[in-house]
């Protein structure tokens, strides 16, 4: 699955990606600089629930930027530096989404991503 996100993750200034279920469960994450427990210990449910109805979001902060995209599985969130090429990130997501859908249908994404307790 990591291979699927390689194009995005290899882009300059992209810090990582996270994929959430619509219930707020963290299904996949790949961050070069953050320990996995840092992300997994947070309750993402209120944030993901607040996104209901949102197809796409671009959240700009002082030092970071988050690009969020609704997928068939849930929400994909790309974390990047403020100067990251957002248009290229969006384009890579356009390219990635059909593959994500195929992967979901073929293998059952939920099982594939399930974290070890």
């Amino acid at each position: 699955m990591k291979k699927l996100f390689n194009d995005i993750l290899s882009m300059k200034d992209v810090k990582g990606v996270m994929l959430f279920s619509f219930e707020g469960e963290l299904l996949f994450r790949d961050f070069s600089s953050l320990p996995s427990t840092f992300l997994e210990n947070r309750d993402w449910t209120p944030f993901i629930k607040a996104l209901i109805g949102v197809q796409e979001a671009d959240l700009v902060f002082e030092t970071l930027r988050f690009y969020i995209r609704k997928t068939t599985t849930g929400y994909l969130m790309v974390l990047m530096d403020i100067l990251a090429p957002i248009a290229m990130v969006r384009l890579n997501c356009d390219i990635l989404l059909p593959s994500l859908k195929q992967e979901n249908t073929a293998k059952g994404l939920r099982n594939l991503f399930k974290r070890k307790k």
């Binding site: 300059k12 947070r42 209120p46 944030f47 607040a50 996104l51 109805g53 949102v54 197809q55 796409e56 979001a57 671009d58 959240l59 700009v60 902060f61 002082e62 030092t63 970071l64 988050f66 974390l79 100067l83 090429p85 957002i86 248009a87 290229m88 384009l91 356009d94 390219i95």
Partner: protein
């Protein structure tokens, strides 16, 4: 007039072979090279270009981001996109953000050269004068109420500038990265110029408030002062004006925090300042339908701000939200959330860029 064209690509070999291939057109245009978008922006500040040809996928700053900067800060410079990734959505996006042409790699050097020449020719469709006094000529433009873009070269110094006229009114002037009256004063002080006229004007907003006559007189005064050894350099008034408008919008939240709570509730952000800023930077194509306060989005904005805090991302500046089916809007955080609704053709990338600067 030989026109400067900026070629932007991270493939050094490609740039060099293009430069070599374009040598036979050196009586029409000359080329300067940049390795990526950031390098291109630096070169745009230092030189006058008539056209930019750029790749899309590049390190540091990609072609889309460069295109966005050009459309905001250099609206008179057309951009041709070259890329190996000819995906329909990419073509659509490139055209949406203002590219005038698109060419797919691999291509023939001659094909790109013809595209460049055609685009450059359009910039002087109203004719070229090889030895003119800019002041006298521009007064004629004003009298005839012409709409045009005039590109000038000072024959003595080689400096180049652009003037934007709409129905005889001088809207803006630009020398490299400097806009407004400061640039107009320098251009109008040039005695002997080559000028080419394009019968259209991409500039929408009026950045020069004074009448042409007053600008001409001030230009002469500054020229006299310079001749007397005084410094009459461009001061960057445009930048100060933009910073002032930024502070009206971005500073709203800081001002709110300083006020007593009972005052804060009734206070509204300056919607006109937001509109003015977008009009000034993007013009008629901004696509804003409405601006109003809508506290039904406070919950989402609060959650987003919480995520930002978790990642130590600093203060939330802008949220762009698309709900599909043409429902696109921008949320600005504050005591109550400000909502900017956008029409389907809005240049959302520019708007986010302008509001988050």
């Amino acid at each position: 007039m030989i026109k400067n064209v900026l070629l932007v690509d991270d493939e050094q070999e490609m740039l060099l072979s293009l430069k070599e291939g374009f040598e036979k057109y050196s009586d029409i245009f000359s080329v300067l090279l940049a390795g990526d978008g950031e390098d291109a922006l630096e070169k745009l500040k230092e030189n006058t270009f008539f056209l930019v040809v750029t790749d899309l996928k590049m390190p540091r700053m990609d072609g889309f981001t460069l295109l966005t900067h050009i459309m905001i800060d250099y609206p008179d410079i057309p951009v041709i996109i070259i890329t190996a990734h000819s995906i329909p959505i990419m073509v659509k996006m490139a055209k949406k953000v203002g590219a005038v042409g698109y060419i797919e790699k691999p291509f023939m050097v001659e094909d790109l050269a013809q595209k460049i020449i055609t685009t450059l020719r359009d910039q002087s469709d109203g004719g070229t004068l090889h030895s003119a006094s800019s002041g006298l000529f521009l007064q004629l433009i004003e009298m005839e109420q012409k709409t045009c873009t005039i590109r000038l070269v000072n024959k003595s110094s080689g400096r180049r500038g652009v003037l934007f006229f709409r129905e005889g009114i001088l809207l803006d002037a630009r020398i490299n990265g400097v806009h407004g009256e400061a640039a107009a004063h320098e251009i109008l002080s040039w005695d002997d110029v080559i000028l080419s006229i394009q019968n259209e004007c991409s500039q929408k907003e009026r950045n020069i408030k004074g009448e042409l006559q007053a600008i001409l007189l001030e230009a002469m005064r500054l020229k006299d002062e310079a001749a007397q050894g005084e410094d009459a350099t461009i001061t960057g008034g445009e930048e100060r004006e933009t910073q002032k408008e930024d502070s009206i919008i971005i500073g709203y939240e800081e001002k709110e925090a300083e006020r007593p709570a009972e005052e804060r509730i009734t206070e509204k952000p300056d919607f006109n300042a937001i509109k003015r800023k977008l009009e000034k930077k993007i013009g008629d194509r901004r696509g804003v339908e409405d601006i109003y306060q809508d506290n039904s989005w406070d919950g989402l904005v609060s959650q987003v701000a919480g995520v930002g805090e978790f990642f130590n991302a600093g203060k939330l500046k802008v949220c762009y939200i698309s709900e599909g089916e043409s429902r696109d809007f921008i949320l600005l955080p504050g005591e109550k959330t400000t909502l900017i609704s956008l029409n389907p053709d809005a240049l959302k990338g520019w708007i986010i860029e302008v509001l988050s600067r």
